[in-house]
């Protein structure tokens, strides 16, 4: 398909999903062949729950793994939407995702998402929800995380027309930004050999978030000022270690959530 100047290939393993994709993104279909940039691997028919997982790949990297086709489709549309974020000026767009626990909302690095969402049960025990989205929007006027305003022209209710295997999931680890959110904690990646959690100055957190901003060149200093509004009211922590279990525990602790209990 052709998204502005950029040609993107999407491959799906089932005919039904391919048909849905063709009808949903009809204005962008291109007759030019393109190597698959995204691959949607879906289960056919009935099978054991483990074999009903749908997986979205970007190249060889797993972007999302879920029992819900609706989630896979939503993440795919968000990924395709992200192609144009660098030149938009209606919000601050950055590589990152959102985690929600009992104690609030954390902004987390996009690189953490796949690393920790593989451990569904551990996330459920920690009562953490992780958004599968890998880019988020921030309102520069108040620093709140807001839904990405769609620019792709898709038919109304397109997701509702998707045959969904969502009945198998309780959806507890999946989170989307459907309304403005205040961020309570900003988490950045720490040293893999460092302590599980260490405090991070707000200045350092701001520098790192600005470095992850997709449209920094478009917005310039206004992006920095908007991100400062986000960071100013938050606690900032650096999550160390490369063991996903430890990262989940550290994230839960940062959000004031303790496994199996209330706020720590």
């Amino acid at each position: 398909m052709q998204l502005g100047e950029i040609r993107v290939g999407v491959r799906a393993t089932t005919e039904s999903f391919g048909t849905w994709l063709d009808s949903t993104l009809a204005p962008y279909l291109s007759s030019h062949a393109s190597d698959p940039h995204y691959s949607v691997v879906l289960p056919e028919g009935a099978g054991s729950p483990g074999r009903r997982l749908s997986v979205l790949y970007k190249g060889t990297i797993t972007i999302a793994r879920t029992f819900s086709r609706r989630t896979i489709a939503r993440v795919l549309l968000a990924e395709l939407e992200s192609v144009g974020l660098a030149t938009r000026d209606d919000a601050i767009y950055l590589n990152g995702s959102i985690a929600r626990g009992d104690g609030g909302v954390a902004l987390i690095p996009a690189a953490l998402v796949h690393h920790i969402t593989r451990l569904r049960r551990q996330l459920e025990r920690a009562r953490l929800q992780i958004s599968p989205l890998l880019s988020i929007a921030v309102d520069p006027s108040n620093g709140r995380v807001v839904p990405v305003a769609p620019r792709l022209a898709t038919p109304p209710g397109a997701l509702d027309r998707l045959e969904d295997a969502g009945a198998l999931t309780n959806g507890s680890t999946e989170l989307f930004v459907d309304e403005p959110l205040d961020v309570d904690v900003v988490c950045r990646l720490g040293d893999v050999v460092g302590p599980p959690t260490s405090p991070l100055s707000r200045g350092a957190a701001l520098r790192e978030l600005a470095g992850e901003t997709l449209n920094l060149g478009t917005l310039g200093g206004a992006a920095l000022e908007g991100l400062a509004k986000l960071v100013a009211g938050t606690r900032c922590v650096s999550l160390g270690g490369d063991d996903a279990r430890v990262v989940i525990e550290s994230l839960a602790a940062s959000l004031g959530t303790s496994p199996g209990g209330g706020r720590a």
Partner: protein, 94 residues
């Protein structure tokens, strides 16, 4: 030769300060800079009105240290600011 009076660039820089630390975005290079609290204080003093010796004296008084200890550190920091493109070009004395 007149003494240098370092001055922060007047255009193309966006500076945000959080808890005493500055984060700077340079429009012309697209680069980001993060200053620790001490560097942030110095950065805020560079308005082109004071020589390096005068700045050293002021900072020394504020931190209760001898000016001769401050001046080499200040010069080193100014070199880093200049290399990062954060200062107006030196017009006299360097």
């Amino acid at each position: 030769m007149a003494a240098s009076r370092p001055r922060v660039r007047r255009s193309g820089l966006t500076t945000v300060e959080l808890d005493g630390e500055a984060v700077i975005y340079d429009d012309s290079s697209g680069e980001l800079h993060h200053l620790n609290p001490t560097a942030t204080i110095v950065f805020g003093l560079l308005d082109g009105t004071a020589t390096i010796r005068e700045l050293s004296s002021d900072i020394a008084k504020a931190f209760g240290m001898p000016p001769e200890e401050i001046e080499p550190q200040l010069r080193s920091l100014l070199r880093r600011f200049r290399k990062a493109g954060l200062l107006e070009p030196a017009t006299n004395g360097g």
